[in-house]
C-alpha cells in the first residue's frame, strides 16, 4: 500500500478537536506566503540592526531652509526624520471601555474596518549649529499585514488563532482595508544590479544620432528603492547616460560622469575600456572619438566637471541653497548614478563595464539580453514596494514643510521666527494633510493606484493590489503565489512576452502563472570579497553589480565551482550562504556577455534542487540555472556534466497544478483549464464562515475529500477545504441529453444532496448616509407603531430582521425611525432570489461611543443544482447539467450501481484527458478497497503502468481489469451491446449557475428615446438581435420572423401620417375650436386639415429618425397607399 493510502480521518478529527498551541498542522501553508510576510517584516527588520524604513530615512537625509535674515542666506533650519516607529494595531487612547488594548484582524474584518497601526516619526530639527530638538509626530494609521511582525497575531498557533476567530491554519500575508482582504501583487521587475544589453527601436527617439543600442542597469539602494541607469550608444561612436529623476528624463555624456566620479586621466579611461585588447580597432576608434569629443566641453579636472554638472542640475536636485555646485554634483552622483554602489571607484568601474558591454553589443560580439526571460528578472515584493511608498510620502512631507517655510520667508509672514520652536510646530500643523501617511497607504491598498512624484522606477501606476478573494481555497492560495508580469505587458500586442522560455523551468508555472517553490530571499547576502588577478585577457567577476576583478574564463568557472563547494563545506563554510547565486556565463561567439556574476541580494527567484556532489539540497537561481546541468530523472544524469538533480519531477508545477491528479496523463492545455476551473469551483472558502463578511461567498454543503489525490493534497491540508464530490461516472452516450459536453445528473443523487450549494451575500445598511452634515443623529433603527403588519413578519421590534427569516424581492430588510417625521421607513431587499437571514452584525464606531448606525446582514441563498448549472472534473472536462434523469431510468450495473453523472464518450478523443480515465479507475478501486489513492504525476511509466496497477486492484475486488462493466438500460432492462466504463471521479461544481445568468423577457422596460427594449439582465432587458442575426434571417428569407423580431417585439408603434404631404412629423392632436367636447382630433399642421390623416404602423425609431432629420432641415415624406 502506498504511504498515504489513508484519509487520516481520525487524526484530523483529533487535531480539529484539540488544536495545537505549538505547531501548525500544515506548516507548508505558512511557507507559501513567507515572501509576502518576510518582505513586510523587512520594513522593520532587515539585516542585523535596522529595517527598510530606517534605511529609507537615512537615504532621505535632512532638508534645510534659510530665513534670509540679515542679508545673504540667514539662519539655517535643518530638519530630518530621526526615527520611524510602526506600532501594532491597538485601540485609540480615547477609548475607555475595554480592558485589552489589542486589536485583532477579525475586528477589522467583521466591522468592515481597516487593520492598521500607528506610524510615528521622531522629527528632529536644529537652527544653524544649535541644539537638536526632537519631537514625536503622528503619521497616521498605516494598514498592517496580517500575521506580520506588526500584527497582534504574530507567532500565534492554531489554538490562539481560533480563539481570535481566524482560520486554524491562517497564514496572513494580506492587509485588511475596509473589511476587504487586500494583497499587494508580486511584480516582475528587471534583475537588480545587473547590466543587460538591449536593442530597442524606441532608443532612437531620444534624439539625433541615438542608435537602438544600449545597456541598462536597475540599481537598488539599500532601502530597496531603485534607480535605472541606461547607457546609450550614439551612431557617432559616443555614449550617453540616461536616467529619470522625478519622472523627467535626463541625458548626460558618459564621459562627463566618468570624469566626475574620480580623478582620472584620459589614458586611464582608455586603458580601462580597452583592457589591453589593442587589436580591437572597432573599440579603439570609438573610445578615441569619445575622448576627443569631450574636449569640446573644456573641462579638465574632476572639480570642474562636478561644478559643471552641479550647475546644470541645481534646480532639478533641489538641494539646500548653501550647497556649492561641486556639492550638488556629488549629491547627484550619490543619489542617481549607480546607486547600489557607495564607492565612486566602483561606480567608475561599472560604468566602464557598461560602456564596454554596449560596444560589444554594437560590434556583435555579444547578443542582446532578453528582458522577458526570468534570467534577467526578479520579483518586486509587496513589503518593499510598501516601504518605498512610505519613504516617498515622508520625503514629500518634509519637502512640503520646506516649501511652506520657504513661502513664508518669501512673503515675509508675521511671526516667522526660526528661533521660536512654535513657528516650526505651527508650520507642521499646516502640512497635516501631507503628514497623514496612513491615509495615503490605505488609499494605495484600497485602489491599487500609485500616486507618486518619482514613479518609483516602476512601469505602471495602477493595479498594484488585488482582492484576495476567498471564492474557494484554491483561488485564495493562488493569489499569494501569482506573479504579475506588469499591466504594461498585458496590453502589449506581441506575444513574445507570453512565450514560455526554458529559462523559466521550475520558477514559473504556466498553468496558473504561479511559481512553485521559489523561496524569495529576504536575507542579506555576504560581503565577502574575492580578488582574482587583474589585467589579463579576461572576463569580469561581479558581486551584486560591483566589479571585484577580472580573470580568465576557466578561472571564473573554477571560482564558481569552489564557491558552490564552500556553500556546504570547507574552511569558508558559513561565509558563503546557500542562497548565493553563482552565474557563470562562459565565453561564446555572439552569445551572452561572459563573466561570473554573483548575486546575494534579496528578491531573487530561487528554487531547491539536489546537489549531486553531496546529495544535499542546494538553491538555484534563475540566472545561473541557464548554464547548469540539472537532471530531472535518475536516468538523465550525465556523469561529469550534471551537477544537480530535481528533487522531484513535479517541482516544475505550481501548487494548483500539482493538485490535478495524474496530470501527466493529460494533454497539457487540459491541465491549464483545470487550473482555471479549480479556482472557480464552489467549495469551502473558509472554516470560520460565521466570522466573515465577504460580499459574496460560495459554499458547497456536501464537499468530500477526493479518493484520488496527489501527495501534495495532504501537505497543503486541502482536506480542510473540500472542493467537490466523488461521483460515480459512466462514460456512455445515453438518451442524447449528454451531447456536446452536457452531462446527465441522477435525480436521486441530487435529492440525496449531490452538489448542493449555498451563496452568502452581504448587505450593508448605514444610516449615516441619510444624515446631513452637522446635524445630530436623527435616524434610529427600530420599528415604530406605524409599521404595517407585513413588516412585522420579517422584522423584530429593534427594526432588524429576525435570524432565519426568508426575504423575497421587495421585503423589508431593516426599519428605522426618522426623528423629524416620526415615521418608520424600511430598506427593501432588492435581490431577485429569496435569501435567508443568516447573521445580523451591529457595527459600532471605533470608540464605541456612538449610537448604532450601521448594520451588516449576511443572507444565505440556497442553490441546489438545477439544469443549466456547470460542473467539471479535475481534468478540464467541464459540462452543463442538461437533465436530472430519474434514477430508475438511469443505466445500472449488475450489482445495481447507478451513476451519479453520465458523460458522453465524445468528450475524450479530441481532448485526450487520459488522466480522467485513470482517475476513474483509481477512484473505483479506492472506493472498493476503502483506501485513498495516490495520484502524484510521474509515478507511473511505460513499464509500470497505472492501468495495470489499478487494474489488478479492481480484479482483486472482483471487477473487470479495465474498469468496464456490463450495464443495462434502466428503461428496458436490456443489456447494452457494449460494456461501459464506470468509475469514481471527483467532480467540482463551478460557480457559474443559470440562476445568475438566465435572461428572459416578454414585455418590460423600454428605452424612452427609441422605445426599444433596454439591454441588461439586471434591468429585465432583452438580448440584442443584431445586424448579423438580421442578415441571417434575410438570407433565409423569413420576412415574417424578421418583422416579428425587429418591429412587433421591439418598438412597434402606430403613427399618424398625413397622406397629403406625406409627413409623419406634422400631424398633431388639437382641440377642435368651439367644440365643447373633450374629443381631440388629429390635424396636419402643414396642410391645416385633418382630412388626410391616416394611421400606419412604424418602428418608433423611424419616427425618431424623422425628427432628428427634421432638426437638420431634412424633410422625410412617406408615400402612402391604401
Amino acid at each position: 500500500m502506498p504511504p498515504n493510502a489513508t484519509f487520516n480521518t481520525l487524526e484530523r478529527e483529533r487535531i480539529f478537536k484539540n488544536p495545537s498551541n505549538k505547531a501548525f498542522q500544515t506548516p507548508a501553508l505558512q511557507e507559501l506566503v513567507a515572501p509576502h510576510i518576510e518582505a513586510f517584516n523587512a520594513l522593520t527588520e532587515f539585516g542585523p540592526s535596522s529595517g527598510l524604513l530606517d534605511l529609507a530615512i537615512q537615504d532621505i537625509g535632512s532638508k534645510a531652509v534659510f530665513d534670509t535674515n540679515g542679508g545673504g542666506l540667514g539662519n539655517k533650519l535643518t530638519f530630518w526624520v530621526d526615527e520611524l516607529t510602526l506600532n501594532k494595531p491597538s485601540l485609540s487612547d480615547k477609548e475607555r471601555h475595554s480592558t485589552t488594548r489589542h486589536v485583532y484582524p477579525t475586528e477589522a474584518r467583521e466591522r468592515l474596518n481597516t487593520y492598521r497601526g500607528r506610524l510615528e516619526a521622531k522629527l528632529a530639527w536644529r537652527i544653524n549649529d544649535g541644539p537638536v530638538v526632537i519631537e514625536t509626530q503622528d503619521l497616521g494609521l498605516v494598514p498592517i499585514m496580517v500575521r506580520s511582525n506588526r500584527c497582534n497575531l504574530e507567532g500565534a498557533f492554531p489554538k490562539e488563532l481560533i480563539r481570535h476567530h481566524e482560520e486554524s491554519e491562517e497564514f496572513g500575508g494580506y492587509f485588511l482595508v475596509n473589511g476587504i482582504e487586500k494583497l499587494i501583487r508580486l511584480l516582475i521587475v528587471p534583475r537588480r544590479n545587473h547590466v543587460i544589453a538591449l536593442i530597442r527601436s524606441s532608443f532612437t527617439n531620444r534624439g539625433p544620432t541615438y542608435s537602438n543600442y544600449g545597456t541598462s542597469i536597475r540599481c537598488a539602494r539599500p532601502d530597496q528603492t531603485s534607480q535605472t541607469n541606461t547607457v546609450h550608444y550614439l551612431t557617432d561612436g559616443g555614449s550617453m547616460l540616461r536616467f529619470a529623476w522625478r519622472k523627467q528624463e535626463y541625458l548626460v555624456p558618459t564621459m562627463l560622469i566618468l570624469k566626475t566620479l574620480i580623478d582620472t586621466s584620459d589614458k586611464e579611461i582608455f586603458d580601462s575600456i580597452m583592457l589591453g585588447d589593442m587589436g580591437n580597432t572597432f573599440l579603439t576608434d570609438r573610445v578615441e572619438l569619445m575622448l576627443r569629443s569631450f574636449k569640446a566641453y573644456v573641462l579638465h579636472t574632476r572639480e570642474q566637471c562636478l561644478a559643471y554638472l552641479g550647475d546644470k542640475f541645481r534646480v532639478v536636485m533641489n538641494f539646500p541653497e548653501d550647497y556649492t555646485d561641486v556639492e550638488v554634483g556629488e549629491g547627484l552622483l550619490r543619489k542617481i548614478v549607480l546607486v547600489h554602489l557607495k564607492n565612486n571607484r566602483d561606480k567608475f568601474n561599472l560604468l566602464i563595464f557598461m560602456i564596454r558591454k554596449v560596444y560589444a553589443l554594437v560590434a556583435g560580439e555579444c547578443a542582446p539580453d532578453n528582458p522577458d526571460s526570468p534570467q534577467h528578472q526578479e520579483v518586486l515584493l509587496g513589503g518593499y514596494l510598501y516601504g518605498s511608498i512610505i519613504k516617498e510620502k515622508i520625503e514629500d512631507w518634509l519637502n512640503g514643510v520646506r516649501s511652506m517655510i520657504k513661502q513664508d520667508v518669501r512673503r515675509k509672514v508675521a511671526g516667522l521666527d526660526f528661533l521660536d520652536n512654535h513657528y516650526f510646530l505651527k508650520t507642521l500643523k499646516k502640512t497635516a494633510s501631507l503628514q497623514d501617511i496612513g491615509q495615503k497607504m490605505s488609499y494605495f491598498l484600497a485602489t491599487g493606484n500609485l500616486i507618486s512624484n518619482t514613479g518609483l522606477d516602476l512601469q505602471q501606476a495602477t493595479g498594484y493590489t488585488i482582492v484576495a478573494e476567498k471564492l474557494n481555497f484554491y483561488r485564495f492560495l493562488a493569489h499569494f503565489r501569482c506573479i504579475h508580469r506588469g499591466s504594461f505587458f498585458a496590453e502589449l500586442k506581441t506575444t513574445t512576452v507570453r512565450k514560455l522560455l526554458p529559462e523559466a523551468w521550475g520558477f514559473l508555472c504556466p498553468p496558473a502563472d504561479v511559481s512553485r517553490l521559489p523561496s524569495i530571499l529576504a536575507s542579506l547576502g555576504v560581503s565577502q570579497t574575492l580578488v582574482p588577478a587583474r589585467g589579463q585577457r579576461t572576463v569580469v567577476v561581479q558581486l551584486d553589480g560591483r566589479i571585484v576583478g577580472y580573470c580568465s574564463s576557466e578561472e571564473a568557472k573554477k571560482v564558481a565551482g569552489t564557491l558552490r563547494h564552500y556553500k556546504f563545506s570547507g574552511s569558508h563554510q558559513g561565509a558563503v550562504p546557500l542562497d548565493i547565486e553563482l552565474g557563470y556565463v562562459p565565453i561564446s561567439q555572439g552569445g551572452q556577455y561572459p563573466g561570473l556574476y554573483i548575486f546575494s541580494t534579496p528578491a531573487r527567484m530561487m528554487r531547491p534542487v539536489r546537489y549531486l556532489a553531496n546529495g544535499k539540497t542546494d538553491m538555484v537561481g534563475s540566472f545561473e540555472q541557464v548554464y547548469m546541468e540539472i537532471a530531472c530523472m535518475d536516468d538523465e544524469i550525465r556523469p561529469g556534466e550534471s551537477t544537480h538533480q530535481e528533487l522531484s519531477p513535479t517541482s516544475m508545477l505550481s501548487i494548483i497544478a500539482n493538485l490535478t491528479p495524474f496530470s501527466d496523463f493529460n494533454q497539457s492545455p487540459r491541465n491549464m483549464y483545470q487550473c482555471q476551473m479549480g479556482k472557480q469551483a464552489m467549495g469551502t472558502p473558509s472554516t470560520a464562515i460565521n466570522y466573515r463578511t465577504d460580499n459574496k461567498m460560495y459554499r458547497l454543503q456536501t464537499g468530500q475529500t477526493p479518493i484520488v489525490r496527489p501527495a501534495l493534497h495532504d501537505t497543503y491540508g486541502i482536506d480542510g477545504f473540500p472542493n467537490g464530490m466523488n461521483a460515480v461516472v459512466a462514460v456512455i452516450s445515453y438518451t442524447g441529453y449528454d451531447m456536446e459536453d452536457a452531462m446527465i445528473l441522477n435525480k436521486s443523487s441530487h435529492e440525496r444532496g449531490f452538489g448542493y450549494g449555498t451563496i452568502y451575500k452581504s448587505e450593508i445598511i448605514d444610516l449615516t448616509d441619510l444624515r446631513i452634515r452637522g446635524e445630530p443623529v436623527l435616524h434610529h433603527f427600530g420599528l415604530g407603531l406605524d409599521a404595517p403588519r407585513s413588516w412585522r413578519e420579517k422584522l423584530d421590534k429593534d427594526g432588524l430582521p429576525c435570524i432565519g427569516v426568508t426575504l423575497g424581492e421587495g421585503d423589508p430588510m431593516c426599519a428605522y425611525i426618522d426623528d423629524t417625521t416620526g415615521k418608520t421607513s424600511v430598506r427593501k431587499y432588492k435581490g431577485m432570489e429569496e435569501g435567508i437571514v443568516d447573521e445580523v452584525r451591529l457595527l459600532g464606531s471605533d470608540l464605541g461611543d456612538t449610537e448604532l448606525q450601521k448594520i451588516h446582514i449576511k443572507l444565505r441563498i440556497t442553490r441546489a443544482p438545477i439544469i443549466g448549472d456547470k460542473f467539471s472534473s479535475r481534468h478540464g472536462q467541464k459540462g452543463v447539467c442538461s437533465q436530472k434523469w430519474p434514477s430508475v431510468d438511469m443505466p445500472f450495473s449488475e450489482s445495481g450501481i447507478q451513476p451519479d453523472v453520465i458523460i458522453n464518450p465524445h468528450a475524450f478523443p479530441s481532448r485526450m484527458t487520459i488522466g480522467m480515465f485513470v482517475e476513474s479507475l483509481a477512484g473505483k478501486s479506492g472506493a472498493l478497497h476503502g483506501i485513498a489513492q495516490d495520484a502524484t504525476p510521474f509515478t507511473f511509466n511505460e513499464t509500470y503502468t497505472a492501468a495495470n496497477y489499478f487494474g489488478e486492484q479492481l480484479k482483486a475486488a472482483g471487477y473487470n481489469y479495465h474498469g468496464n462493466e456490463p450495464m443495462y438500460s434502466g428503461i428496458t432492462g436490456e443489456e447494452f451491446k457494449i460494456d461501459i466504463y464506470l468509475g469514481v471521479v471527483y467532480y467540482q461544481r463551478l460557480r457559474h449557475m443559470v440562476s445568475d445568468k438566465y435572461q428572459v423577457r416578454t414585455t418590460g422596460p423600454v428605452h424612452n428615446l427609441t422605445m426599444q427594449p433596454v439591454k441588461g439582465r439586471k434591468r429585465a432587458g432583452g438580448i440584442r438581435f443584431g445586424e448579423m442575426e438580421r442578415d441571417s434571417l434575410l438570407a433565409h428569407g423569413v420576412s415574417y420572423l424578421l418583422q416579428d423580431r425587429l418591429m412587433n417585439c421591439s418598438d412597434y408603434s402606430i403613427c399618424n401620417v398625413c397622406t397629403k404631404c406625406g409627413s409623419i412629423t406634422s400631424p398633431i392632436s388639437t382641440h377642435t375650436a368651439g367644440s365643447l367636447s373633450n374629443v381631440r382630433e388629429i390635424e396636419c399642421r402643414a396642410c391645416q386639415s385633418g382630412s388626410g390623416i391616416d394611421q400606419v404602423p412604424l418602428p418608433y425609431v423611424f419616427r425618431y429618425l424623422a425628427t432628428e432629420l427634421m432638426s437638420m432641415g431634412i424633410k422625410v415624406t412617406l408615400k402612402t397607399q391604401p
Binding site: R752, H962, P966, G973, E975
Partner: protein, 281 residues
C-alpha cells in the same frame, strides 16, 4: 403467451434481514425490469417530509438539518394504514396521513468541564433523539451503538423541531425509496450475445464470470447459436434501507404491478365497451 408455461416463478437464493437474493424465471425481460423499477421507485414508504424548526443554534443551517432528517429511513411496515396526504380530507396534514416526530436537544454548559480538554463535550444528535408519535413509524435503528448522526452540538447549543413524516414514493423524492440498490442480471454466460465483452488479450483474465453463473450451464462450444432465444431467468438482489422486510418490498412491488395491470385492463375493457356501443361492432 404459450412461451412461459405455468407463469413466472421465483426461487429465493438467500434471505437476510435487509436483503434478498432471488431468481425470477419463466417470464419476460419487461416483467423483470418492471419489477425492478417498481421496487426502486413506486413502493410507498414513510419519510420525513416537512420540518418545523422552532430553534436551531447548531452549526448546520435549517435547510441542511431538514435535508438530513428527510434522508433518515423510517420503519414502514404499517404504511398501508396511512393515507397519502393528497388523498386525505385534511388541508395540510393529520394523523390519518402523517406521523409526527419531535426532536429537542439542548446541551447545557457545564462550567466545571469547560476547560478540561480530556472531556469530549461534543453532543452527537442522532436518530435516537427523534421521538415518534407512532410506535410503528420510527427511525430505523438495528444497532443502538451506530445510530444515524444528524448534527453535532457543543455546549450552549439547542435544536428543537417537529418533523412530519408522510407516505410517498421514490418517484417523487429518493428518500421514499425502500431499497438502496437492486442488482439485476440475466444470461451470465452471455449466451444470447446481447453484449459484446471488450477484451484486450485474454477474456478469462480480464473478465470475471458472475456469481450468478452457478445457476446456469456454461456455454457448450459445439452448440449452435440460438438466435431466437430470449432471456427468461433474472438474477436479482434487493437491499433495503431497513424500512421494511426485503420480501415485503418484492411482494408489494408485485401487488403494485398487478394493480397497475388490473387498472389498465379495466380501462381497456371500458374503452372497448364504449367503442362497441359507439360504433356498433
Amino acid at each position: 403467451m404459450d412461451m412461459y408455461n405455468g407463469g413466472p416463478e421465483i426461487s429465493i437464493r438467500s434471505l437476510r434481514k435487509d436483503g434478498m437474493k432471488f431468481v425470477l424465471s419463466n417470464t419476460d425481460l419487461s416483467v423483470a425490469n418492471a419489477l425492478r423499477r417498481i421496487m426502486i421507485a413506486e413502493v410507498p414508504t414513510m419519510a420525513i417530509d416537512m420540518v418545523e424548526i422552532e430553534k436551531n443554534s447548531t452549526v448546520l443551517t435549517d435547510e441542511f438539518i431538514a435535508h438530513r432528517l428527510g434522508m433518515i429511513p423510517l420503519t414502514s411496515f404499517d404504511v398501508d394504514r396511512i393515507q397519502y396526504t393528497r388523498d386525505c380530507t385534511c388541508t395540510l396534514y393529520c394523523p390519518n396521513c402523517s406521523v409526527e416526530l419531535t426532536l429537542h436537544v439542548k446541551v447545557n454548559v457545564d462550567f466545571d468541564d469547560m476547560n478540561d480538554p480530556t472531556i469530549d463535550k461534543t453532543r452527537q444528535v442522532s436518530s435516537l433523539d427523534l421521538i415518534s408519535s407512532d410506535e410503528n413509524v420510527k427511525p430505523v435503528s438495528d444497532d443502538k451503538s451506530h445510530p444515524i448522526l444528524i448534527v453535532k452540538m457543543r455546549p450552549g447549543q439547542e435544536v428543537k423541531l417537529k418533523c412530519i413524516a408522510k407516505k410517498g414514493v421514490a418517484k417523487e423524492h429518493a428518500k421514499w425509496s425502500p431499497v438502496y440498490g437492486v442488482a439485476f442480471e440475466y444470461d451470465p454466460y452471455n449466451k444470447l450475445r446481447h453484449s459484446h465483452y471488450w477484451i484486450e488479450e485474454d477474456e478469462n483474465l480480464e473478465w470475471f464470470v458472475s456469481d450468478n453463473a452457478v445457476e446456469e450451464t456454461p456455454i457448450d462450444p459445439n452448440e449452435p447459436f440460438d438466435y431466437n432465444a430470449k432471456p427468461d431467468r433474472f438474477y436479482m438482489e434487493v437491499e433495503t434501507s431497513g424500512c421494511m422486510k426485503p420480501e415485503d418490498v418484492v411482494l408489494r412491488a408485485m401487488t403494485i404491478m398487478q394493480d397497475k395491470l388490473g387498472g389498465l385492463q379495466i380501462k381497456l375493457d371500458d374503452e372497448f365497451k364504449e367503442d362497441t356501443q359507439r360504433w356498433g361492432y
